[in-house]
């Protein structure tokens, strides 16, 4: 097929970006997939022999099963907590008046742009044994000995909730925004009560946002690295921190690559599943 001049121009304009992505994204991804089929011998290093050994280890070894379970647990819990906080907050913002609405929207969403490590450091200080929270609790006489918050699943969930809250508020807020206020007025004029307006009009409108927010938060929480690494420490491992260990401490890169691939599959798989199951239905009216 020959391209007319009108079609060649746009293609040319894409060449630089596409070339970059081909060389530095697609190719490395393919190489890492190959890496996962290699093996690692202590003292020798990476041995390029193709085998399923790494895959078998990740699937059947109880240690890795526990890792994936931890990751799933963190993902699901964070998604739920974020939903429980984010949905009401989006609704509160939606009901606010003009200047406050913008101000608090930025207060809630702004931290998104502030360094993740800095925010996690904040939680580290807040939750530590001699941390702000424990000092306050002990001063108030609630507890005598400091409570161990850090290096546990709850600490990670708190940190991730803080980091990912905007990803829940944004889509719900966007869905609510699409709703013209005249629709709410129409519902009131037809005799609906505030409760009915919420459950019959507002909640269904927010549903696409709720679903996509939950999905995104789950997927980001399950693949997060910095927060579990800092707040989970050496005690509570998830998949991403285990990958880091394999690559940076144990140096078993093939195994690390295999674990990473599983994480990639889970992450992409859940997004695709979501698209198939839910989004199609809602797309018709949203």
């Amino acid at each position: 097929m020959s391209l007319s001049r009108a079609q060649a121009w746009p293609l040319l304009m894409c060449v630089p970006a596409v070339a970059l992505f081909a060389v530095f994204f697609l190719l490395p991804l393919a190489l890492v997939m190959m890496l996962s089929a290699y093996s690692f011998k202590a003292g020798v290093g990476i041995v390029p022999d193709l085998s399923w050994a790494n895959y078998a280890a990740v699937i059947f070894d109880g240690y890795y099963q526990q890792l994936f379970f931890n990751t799933l647990f963190i993902g699901v819990t964070t998604a739920l907590v974020t939903l429980l906080l984010g949905m009401p907050e989006a609704y509160v913002l939606y009901r606010m008046r003009s200047p406050w609405r913008t101000i608090f929207l930025l207060v809630i969403l702004g931290p998104l742009l502030i360094s993740l490590v800095v925010r996690t450091l904040g939680w580290l200080i807040l939750l530590g044994n001699q941390g702000v929270l424990n000092s306050a609790l002990m001063a108030a006489g609630v507890t005598e000995d400091p409570i161990r918050f850090l290096y546990s699943a709850p600490a990670i969930v708190i940190g991730l909730t803080h980091v990912l809250l905007p990803f829940m508020v944004i889509p719900i807020w966007t869905s609510l925004q699409k709703q013209k206020s005249s629709v709410v007025h129409a519902a009131f004029s037809l005799g609906a009560s505030r409760r009915q307006v919420f459950f019959r009009i507002i909640l269904p409108t927010a549903l696409p946002g709720i679903l996509s927010g939950t999905m995104v938060v789950f997927s980001l929480a399950a693949s997060a690295f910095a927060t579990p690494a800092i707040l989970g420490g050496r005690r509570f491992k998830v998949v991403s921190t285990a990958v880091y260990d394999e690559f940076m401490s144990t140096l078993n890169w093939p195994l690390g690559a295999t674990i990473a691939l599983f994480l990639l599959i889970i992450s992409l798989g859940s997004l695709m599943l979501y698209n198939r199951l839910i989004e199609r239905r809602i797309q018709r009216w949203a």
Binding site: P16, F24, L121, V184, L264, S267
Partner: protein
Amino acid sequence: MLRNTPLSLAFHTALVTFVMAPLITVSLVAFTAESYLALPWSGLSLRWFRSVFADREFLASAWVSIQVAVFTATLGVALALPAVLAIGRYQFPGRDAVNALLLAPIPVPGIVLGVTFLRFMTQIGWNGTVAAMIVCHLIVTIPFVVRILLAAIVGLDKSIPQAAQSLGASRLAVFRRITLPMLASGISGAWIMAFLLSFDELTVAIFVASTSVKTLPVWLFEKISWGLDPSACAASVLIIAGTFLAMLILDRIYGLERLLVGKSAES
């Protein structure tokens, strides 16, 4: 007609506190006079700021971060803009594939990208260089640049450049005199966004960094992991202040609300 009840406002206050708490804590601890992480009850001091400014590694990593972020943002916009113009304006074979490819890194977990780059950059012998860091950050940030630019271009009326063409403007003149000025806010918004993303990026950088070339988040992460002291908080305050400045500029130029929730603030 829809109003917030006292209960919902109480919830809102609690949530805002939750959101602000870690940032405020870090900021307060930075001014402590103690030699350990403590709130500055016993007196304010700037000693940790002095200490961080005397820290060679901090300064070096800040300089690397700025370089990487500037190059990432500039190259990212320069590479993404033509592609986005093509995708947003024209119908051509492979258009959807190009679009999908440029957005593809978004759902890929950072840790996966990190090990991918580590392996590849080691194989080609680039690991631990500023160039490698920039290339990796390009892959991470370009999808977001594409998103912002695409939104800006799709919002543009197609007939405006057509009108310019009919008045005798060449392709280049249309780009320089019509498209570029009309996209100015989108382009600068995308640039600052890419800068911030790169400046804050940890997960990929930690794999590509070396002892001599590391970015600020990597420095901070290592500091937190081994030998945390209030100087980390002082550095954090500097980072927060810098980010605020960038956010202010971003708001002026592009509108933060538009950037974050995809809508113009007042319309």
